[in-house]
């Protein structure tokens, strides 16, 4: 009888639920195995991230961070004595499978929150579905401003959005490094369109000029020779790589032929700071600047502990995806604890949470955007991402 009641109705009617819960204890024979039986022995969390497809590397790394945090928390006794139980879904970074995953998640009545979201397009497709049952979504690295701008009441995210990040990537080129002519290469999806708009605004605001804006279709464009020829013909000082690692890797690899001996500095966003970008782009990637919201060399206690544990478990260095996945779970844990162990009406509590995590300070504004973090600058030097202290200080000073 309880299984036909929708989750939204349940959430709106907490007193009724409480009496139902009492009833189910008093009259177990009437209710049989209720959906709440599962809630009492574990905290059920669902994850949706791309585990296959062109953004799989992001999703897998995010899930590594999630797994590490879940393992640590469960080893230390769980949240309020209950272990975390994780159900994983693959959204393929594609709105269609993402919507399917969201429908599967909301049909599982035990799930109390969703974590791990990586792709903005996929998450935009999912939010209305999660919204139907008021499911709290604490996204990892989705960064499209459209997500928070839509005013979803059940949404928050770990990393600062593209507005903050994109402006920083452009400001690094214009204000810190002094470039005046900027070109942009962006994917044609929501994420790319948002970054293009930001790049235009930030370039104008800092007195630089956007001399070329070229687009491509992620997942199907592999030939960048024509767009690169356009970029070369526009004579930019710097090229802002506003896309995903695999596409940017291919484009930069092909840029050797298109740019010849023209020197065009490469400015990239956080998405590009993965080993795959370096292996795809090869020698041409050397010198790429990245602004990010996380750096492995952050000397905070939380980060040191995270890096040590992650490196030990996965035998690889964590990137922003892993850190966001890791903090994702810990923010949720803190929120549930601050909610006195209850998983009801969680989102307002999540948004009020201030967490010191691996990424730095995480706190949210009224739309669920993280406004607590600071930015770091790195440069690809000798095939490795090297923290650039001077540029970081200059960037944060602006």
């Amino acid at each position: 009888m309880m299984s036909i009641v929708s989750k939204a109705a349940l959430r709106r009617a907490i007193p009724a639920i409480a009496s139902f819960a009492v009833a189910s204890i008093v009259l177990p024979g009437l209710c049989g195995t209720s959906a709440f039986a599962a809630d009492t022995d574990a905290v059920h969390i669902a994850s949706t991230a791309p585990l296959t497809g062109s953004a799989a590397a992001y999703g897998i790394e995010t899930m590594n961070g999630v797994h590490l945090a879940v393992e640590e928390i469960n080893a230390a006794g769980g949240i309020g004595g209950k272990p975390i139980k994780l159900s994983e879904y693959d959204d393929q970074c594609d709105p269609t499978p993402a919507a399917t995953a969201a429908n599967q998640i909301i049909s599982d009545k035990a799930v109390v929150a969703v974590v791990g979201n990586v792709c903005s397009s996929a998450t935009l497709a999912q939010m209305p579905i999660f919204g139907r049952v008021g499911m709290p979504v604490l996204a990892a690295t989705t960064s499209s401003p459209a997500l928070s701008a839509k005013g979803f009441e059940n949404f928050a995210r770990i990393i600062p959005n593209d507005d903050i990040q994109g402006v920083a990537s452009l400001d690094l080129g214009t204000k810190v490094l002094g470039y005046k002519r900027i070109a942009v290469l962006y994917p044609s999806d929501d994420y790319g369109q948002a970054l293009l708009a930001i790049a235009k605004r930030a370039a104008t605001a800092s007195g630089a000029e956007l001399v070329a804006a070229e687009t491509y279709i992620t997942g199907s464009t592999n030939d960048f020779s024509s767009v690169l020829a356009n970029i070369a013909a526009a004579n930019p000082d710097a090229l802002f790589l506003a896309g995903y690692y695999a596409d940017m890797g291919a484009a930069v690899s092909q840029s050797v032929r298109a740019f010849g001996d023209k020197h065009i500095a490469l400015l990239a966003n956080a998405q590009t700071q993965v080993p795959e970008y370096v292996s795809l782009a090869g020698a041409a990637a050397e010198g790429t600047w990245v602004t990010n919201v996380y750096d492995i060399n952050n000397p905070s206690e939380q980060n040191k502990a995270f890096v040590a544990a992650y490196t030990k478990k996965f035998n690889a260095e964590p990137g922003v995806q892993a850190a966001a996945g890791y903090d994702n779970i810990y923010v949720l844990k803190q929120a549930i604890e601050e909610n006195k162990g209850s998983t009801e009406n969680l989102m307002p509590v999540i948004r009020a949470t201030k967490h010191e995590g691996a990424m730095g300070t995480i706190s949210f504004d009224k739309n669920g955007d993280n406004i607590g973090g600071s930015l770091v600058v790195l440069r690809l030097t000798g095939g490795k991402w090297v923290f650039d202290d001077e540029s970081t200080k200059k960037l944060n000073a602006h």
Partner: protein, 290 residues
């Protein structure tokens, strides 16, 4: 002028790659009036065999040969088990082709994972200067291979018994069989030829663009399929013409109009051809069987 030449070269290079893949569609369609939807997956698999052997340090010639053999073997297996039992039926081979394609893609994903990978190849970072125009040695290689493959196809179709048999099967399969043409063997050879052209195209693609993914079986052949239709499906010369035309058109749209309009122009053109000139550039008329 320099910009025009650069975009023209970019377009021709992409066009040769499209043409190699388009030949695979057109050969099969020309003879069996069937769209070989598994073609893209066969070319992807062969290309991955080559790429993974290059990465693991095999000599280049061995890696390329192994990729071609893999493509041919898969084509033979598909023809035998997915197409021959349903030959003559217009719809069933389309369904079996999609099924087989998904199997190939999933097997490839199990072997090579879904990560996008580079394909190391000689000359990738080299450039040649011809006055103001910058050229890649790989573009010369792509053009040379394209010409050689076109010549090979011309020789096969006009100078050999196989070519004559292919024309006979194309004209009338049943009558050709009655006249003693070994139809099964000819059909399987057509699939193998298509697969070989596809894998050659895939290797050129990987070498020039340095990026491969298992999903390129579908998305990577959308352009090739468009080129086939534009060129005139069923005509192998139309496939070459369509490939080069589409490659150059896309480079020019990107260069002189906008990269944001690339797909709009490509697929508008596809629709326009389907509506107003379904026989394509080559104007090929394929007799339809009842």
């Amino acid at each position: 002028m320099q910009f025009f030449a650069t975009q023209l070269l970019n377009g021709l290079t992409a066009g040769v790659v499209y043409a190699m893949l388009a030949v695979g569609y057109s050969l099969v369609y020309g003879i069996l009036q069937q769209i070989n939807f598994a073609h893209g997956y066969v070319y992807m698999f062969g290309t991955f065999v080559t790429a993974s052997l290059i990465t693991s340090g095999s000599p280049l010639w061995l890696a390329i040969a192994a990729g071609l053999v893999a493509g041919a073997v898969i084509a033979i297996v598909i023809e035998r088990f997915a197409y021959r039992p349903v030959r003559g039926n217009r719809l069933a081979p389309t369904v079996t082709a999609v099924g087989v394609g998904l199997i190939i893609e999933n097997v490839a994903q199990l072997i090579w994972t879904s990560r996008i990978r580079p394909m190391p190849f000689p000359f990738q970072a080299d450039i040649i200067r011809l006055g103001p125009v910058v050229l890649s040695p790989l573009q010369i290689l792509v053009a040379a291979v394209g010409l050689a493959m076109a010549a090979l196809l011309w020789v096969i179709s006009t100078k050999t018994d196989l070519g004559r048999a292919m024309r006979a099967v194309k004209d009338d399969l049943a009558t050709a069989e009655l006249m003693g043409v070994p139809v099964d063997r000819v059909v399987v050879t057509v699939y193998v030829l298509g697969a070989l052209f596809g894998v050659v195209g895939g290797i050129l693609y990987g070498a020039y663009y340095n990026t491969l993914s298992v999903t390129m079986g579908f998305s990577g052949t959308l352009n090739a399929f468009t080129a086939t239709v534009i060129g005139g499906i069923g005509s192998v010369w139309g496939a070459f013409a369509g490939g080069l035309f589409l490659g150059v058109l896309q480079a020019m749209v990107t260069g002189y109009v906008s990269s944001a309009l690339l797909n709009t122009v490509t697929f508008t053109l596809l629709i326009a051809f389907l509506l107003f000139r379904p026989t394509g550039i080559a104007g090929v008329q394929v007799a339809s069987r009842p």
